[in-house]
Symmetry: C2
Subunit: 292 residues, 2 copies
């Protein structure tokens, strides 16, 4: 089904769902939106992006060729369990959740007549809500697709058409690989950034610590300001990879502490030069400071 | 002594010293530069910022009203030890080193006729070398000054005149407070960023891990690409505050790991919400993505 003929419903109109709606506005047969927050629904009505705003979840899913779930992971899991039971079934369902293994498992349990595709666009900002929605949010970002055995070419093709519309870069990988890699590239950065802010605020309490926080602190800590419900769902649905990533960091920080304790310049260099070299070679086509 | 009458010598023409030279060019009575690297000296000659480039350290210091040491901390300590002994003595000496306690101690041991002021501009980039020098580098950044009992008003006033010229924001604090706070705002971010790159590269080896590294990973890891000799000197000259900062982070990461292990959503929220709130309130007058 071409995008231009698809009736699309987007559930969850925060930064991700709102930005997706803004980007898809006018490109599909019908765009319906729904958010559980009445104020967000009211605001969505005023954007002009939607053909209709549903008053409840059931109405949002009704008649959808493609239902896109843009809510935190545990809410996605809850909705998937109810589809075809106390909720109607869309023709296809895709999600934008941040972890994929648990969602892929839940999609495998959908009624056979519901097509399904786990997905995850690798973008985000430290702001949230429909007020921050930006049709350019997905521009240039990786859009992970995790096709399952049950995913039809029809749904996969429609997803690719959407990534093209968003100017995103599709990447097809398995759910397990997605989750182990994003533990390293997304979940661990969040936890380390939070540890940084925690430590600076605790040990710097009552002192002019923020006066000395410059661009290094600003960038290293930025993601600690991200959406808490989203991050808690991620941590709860990606336990083993997150724990492994935390353990790797903890062991490295311990080695660093030993080297500092022993004033061992050679060991510090041996530990710190490989990450320096690796990081220097990354993002070289993507100017530092740019978004995304 | 007004800036316009001062003969200034800058030793170390990397990112910091080069940018300072570019910003001071034409504003003082004479600007002399020196770097131990012959290629940097040759490049400095071509910039047009200097009245002369010295051929050795002794020649650089000779006749200076103000000597500015813009080299890594341990090199600053070495030069301070030699001033008035096998090296000539400037009228005043100021440094831009990243830690201040050890340097303040070394300055207290200078011959009495040498005036001295420890300083530290809180800016930097993940690039280094004179090729990256930028007269705007110091614009808007905090410029820490740590006046000692022996620091004369003459030297302190000249330093303030320089910060004005650089459009930097002066902040006078004691060396010990500087070192304990920068351990939190600068040294810890570097170590956490290095731990992130280390862990992602080790655990992601042989997998498309960098394909999934988006803006969150990019920003959280940025400072890991910083100058290694500079960072090693910092870690070796700020041992106790760095160890305390590492210990605080390690303990917090362990609490997080326990909460993930036990799937404890309430504890995760209790741990992660305070840093989220604090970080959300920082840098609000300084657009994310801006420099510095």
């Amino acid at each position: 089904m071409p995008l231009g003929e698809a009736r699309i419903s987007i559930v969850g109109l925060g930064l991700m769902g709102g930005s997706l709606s803004a980007a898809l506005a006018g490109s599909c047969a019908a765009l319906k939106g729904y958010d559980q927050d009445p104020a967000t629904r009211a605001r969505a009505l005023e954007t002009g992006w939607f053909d209709s705003i549903a008053v409840n979840l059931s109405e949002a899913i009704q008649d959808a060729d493609l239902l896109i779930l843009a809510v935190p992971v545990r809410s996605i899991l809850e909705i998937l369990e109810r589809i075809g039971h106390d909720l109607p079934a869309p023709r296809s369902v895709m999600d934008l959740g941040s972890t994929k293994v648990r969602i892929a498992e839940a999609m495998e349990k959908l009624p056979e007549y519901v097509d399904a595709l786990p997905a995850h666009p690798m973008c985000g900002r430290e702001v949230s809500g429909i007020a921050s929605a930006d049709p350019q949010l997905y521009n240039g970002c990786r859009f992970v697709l995790c096709p399952l055995e049950r995913t039809s070419p029809r749904t996969l093709n429609l997803a690719h058409e959407i990534t093209t519309r968003l100017q995103a870069i599709p990447l097809e990988i398995a759910p397990g690989l997605h989750d182990s890699l994003t533990a390293l590239t997304s979940h661990l950065p969040y936890l380390l950034a939070s540890a940084l802010v925690h430590t600076a605020s605790q040990q710097g309490a009552g002192k002019p610590v923020w006066d000395l926080a410059a661009s290094g602190f600003r960038d290293t800590s930025r993601v600690a300001a991200g959406s808490l419900p989203m991050m808690i769902d991620i941590l709860l649905t990606n336990k083993a990879p997150v724990l492994e990533a935390l353990e790797g960091s903890r062991a490295f920080l311990e080695q660093l502490a030993d080297a500092v304790e022993n004033q061992d310049a050679l060991l510090l260099e041996a530990l710190l030069d490989p990450p320096r070299q690796i990081r220097s070679g990354l993002f070289i086509h993507n100017q530092e400071g740019d978004t995304p």
